[in-house]
């Protein structure tokens, strides 16, 4: 164990707790709906949808639920219409926070965020106050026990990854968002199921 940890890996450690809450499904359904709404219901023509479907399958979401969420997005089934928004905030101690939301009521969401932040010693920040401290990157976590370093490194670089970092028990593979799909596929082709794989906002100071 190293002496310190950043949020992306903390989240991974806490992942088991999230799974229990069943919130993952709710989130994935919203993602599927909005991805289908913005780019159409055909995953072959819609890379974002393809990526979310892969996430949903990895979370063991039944195929019927996936289909229904997509049909809600395309309007083939009635559903709530969600809006995407990103908020920026400061945490206690001045840490920068970025919050991605999908909501049917922005006013309610902002109210809830403000309340939560104030309760825990943080506050909402203005647009671009902290976003510049982050870069959007494909971020894939592979447990070291599941991978041969040389093989993994070769495969991900071949697929267009920028970097592979050592995080104690895990390898962290970073790529441009555009290369993320190909890199994730390359990991899977090695027979490895990544512990986590997601286009993420990665802080530049870490």
């Amino acid at each position: 164990m190293s002496g310190h940890s950043k949020w992306a890996s903390i989240k991974h450690k806490k992942g088991a707790l999230d799974a229990k809450r069943g919130k993952i499904f709710t989130r994935l359904i919203k993602e599927l709906t909005i991805a289908a709404r913005n780019g159409g219901g055909d995953p072959d023509m819609n890379p974002r949808l393809r990526s979310v479907i892969a996430d949903a399958k990895a979370a063991n979401m039944p195929a019927d639920n996936i289909k229904r969420a997509i049909r809600k997005g395309t309007g083939e089934e009635p559903g709530v219409s969600y809006e995407e928004a990103q908020y920026e905030a400061y945490g206690p101690g001045g840490a920068a926070v970025i919050i991605d939301v999908l909501t049917d009521n922005k006013n309610r969401t902002v109210g809830e965020l403000r309340h939560m932040l104030e309760k825990h010693g943080g506050n909402l920040a203005s647009t671009n106050a902290v976003a510049w401290m982050f870069a959007k990157k494909g971020y894939i976590v592979v447990e070291k026990s599941k991978a041969d370093e040389e093989k993994l490194l070769g495969a991900v670089l071949e697929a267009g990854a920028d970097d592979m970092q050592d995080d104690d028990d895990n390898w962290e593979v970073l790529s441009a968002p555009e290369a993320f799909q190909a890199v994730r596929d390359a990991v899977k082709e090695l027979g490895i199921e990544p512990a986590s794989a997601q286009v993420s906002m990665i802080p530049q100071n870490l």
Partner: protein, 42 residues
């Protein structure tokens, strides 16, 4: 690196934000020790 009370407060905040129904993802640039994470899980 955040320590002690501020670190615990930050971890609680991240979890609370993450728990909100409308929130899909929360990202942050803070850094804490393994001990702080263990303490937050306890």
């Amino acid at each position: 690196m955040l320590e002690g009370k501020v670190a615990q407060q930050m971890l609680k905040l991240m979890e609370a934000l993450d728990d909100l129904d409308d929130v899909q993802h929360v990202w942050s640039n803070f850094d804490v020790s393994e001990q702080e994470i263990e303490a937050s899980l306890a």
